[in-house]
Symmetry: C2
Subunit: 138 residues, 2 copies
């Protein structure tokens, strides 16, 4: 369960960490802001401060348990690290998020970086649009 993953990440097993990891795993929402996690904790009557949520998420990120995303809209969004890199399609109306991987794009990026003598460290690709459901709602 969560305890094991936290231990393996080299972190002490504490109630906030177990709770937060549990929420990320079972809450149903794959992409959550710190605030989202905090509200979920509150709704479960957990007494965990927002600062702790940020601290824990940042530690989880450092330990490779979660990934932090910077979509438009101010807040960072966190998701469990699935192991494989992926990019995102985000609906600007309802916030729906679709994940995708495209080898062609990944390869082109590598080529572009190489052509410019850049050694790639990371990249962020987010496509914003209106999802099918939201298109029909007009």
């Amino acid at each position: 369960m969560e305890n094991q993953q936290i231990k393996e990440a080299g972190l002490k097993v504490t109630a906030p960490r177990v709770k937060i990891l549990g929420i990320l795993e079972n809450c149903g929402k794959r992409h959550m802001s710190a605030e989202d996690v905090y509200k979920e904790l509150i709704s479960q009557d957990e007494e965990i401060g927002l600062a702790t949520v940020y601290r824990v998420l940042t530690q989880f990120e450092g330990a490779g348990l979660v990934c932090r995303r910077h979509f438009e809209g101010g807040q960072s969004v966190f998701e469990l690290n699935s192991g494989e890199h992926h990019d995102h399609l985000v609906c600007i109306k309802c916030g729906k998020i679709v994940e995708f991987v495209d080898l062609t794009i990944e390869k082109r990026q590598a080529k572009i970086a190489a052509d410019n003598a850049f050694q790639i460290e990371d990249h962020s690709l987010v496509v914003y649009g209106i999802c099918g459901d939201c298109q029909n709602k007009r």
Copy 2:
């Protein structure tokens, strides 16, 4: 000159707007944060408040004169709207920015969006890496 562009954008021609547009056009730095613009104004002994810089840049963005970018690092970065869309390669050591356009990537994005019934509105692709110069500096 600037006056014309501002008028055409449907904005009144005021000293702050003319000055700020002038800086974006002639300052030599293509990508500038609001703070960068503000400092440049200060160095030119202009008495323009940072709030006005933000206001004006946001208006310019709305009018299509500039584009706002959200690279990692907290601050938004602005650049003159060159008319053609492009993406960025950013050096995480020195901040150097290289612009690029890749039709293959653009097409793949369109296809991915279509496959998922999304109507694309916008997208952001930023590749972070270490530029040639910075690689040699180690």
